[in-house]
């Protein structure tokens, strides 16, 4: 088996919060973590 070492950066959320853009981003996109999994019939 092949072993790939994973790096751990800052989460995007933390970086966007630090840049002061997170709240607006989450408000704007009506964030829901499960939206990622909603397949839509093409």
């Amino acid at each position: 088996a092949v072993r790939i070492s994973l790096k751990k950066g800052l989460s995007i959320r933390d970086k966007m919060r630090a840049a002061g853009v997170l709240d607006d981003f989450l408000r704007h996109i009506k964030y829901d973590p499960v939206k990622k999994y909603q397949p839509r019939q093409g």
Partner: protein, 330 residues
Amino acid sequence: SVVRQPITNHLDSSYFGEISIGEPPQKFLVLFDTGSSNLWVPSTDCKSPACFNHAKFKPSASSTFSPGGRSCTVSYGSGSVTIALGWDTLRIQSITVTQQEFGLSQEEPTQPFYFADFDGILGMAFPSLAVGGTATALGGMLEQEQLAEPVFSFYFSRQPTYEYGGELILGGIDPRLFQGDIAWAPVTQKLYWQVALEEFAIGQSVTSWCSQGCQAIVDTGTFLLTVPQEYLESILEALGAQETSYGYAVDCADTHSKPHIAFGIGGARLALPPTAYVLNSHGYCTLAMEGTYLPSQDGQPLWILGNVFLKEYYTAFDMANSRVGFAPSA
């Protein structure tokens, strides 16, 4: 009709590893995401700000690149990533997949990608989820017999650093990375790595929330634990948390006195101690949880097991038998 998956992935995870594409190899840091199925990297055609600060694939610099002539759109919540499809050699250490189909991004939304530490995404969910019906990287590895076994597994360190956050094992399971036996659960919907959640417990008491069945998606591309919104209030109360603009705040001093929470999966009870589900950021403590209003495809309450859970449980993904295995991490 074609199932087009709008991957509105908010990519708040932050674990990534190196791949290379092309001849000579062009290197990229990618998020290995079990919650999606497309492989794409930024390209020199991309003029978005998110591409400025990331590695970009240069087709003309690769002697083995062939353009696909097709493009598709992978929608990521706040915008869409437009990718042109092409084929080239994918390498991940000793693994080589020739003529692997992949996406070259033409346009990326600044948020969230400008802020990502990784360049692109290597999706590891099922082929049926791949936008544009593109061939998946894992499919290429299996087809070209690049994997010792049709299995891959993740270990996420409990004390991650930038240099070492954990390991992805392609082609097998590493017994040094977990303790005890692996509890296996069958995949219930071959789009994602989704399993049945048989029960959820807080401390010693098993809630009735999953008595009619719950589903859980195992997603390395998500950082937090996601719980169905309808249960969030009860969880906050049981764990002594207050909602603030920074999340669900708890008193750091109480962390060790809080109850374990546990997930019944594959006949095993997978418990998380409070040190796993309480995040302490410079002395400000919050629950590593968020709510979702959306159910699973079959209407059952849907939970997402992100990195917070995966740090405690070494997780194996068996592509041959469509099942997910969990064992306490070493």
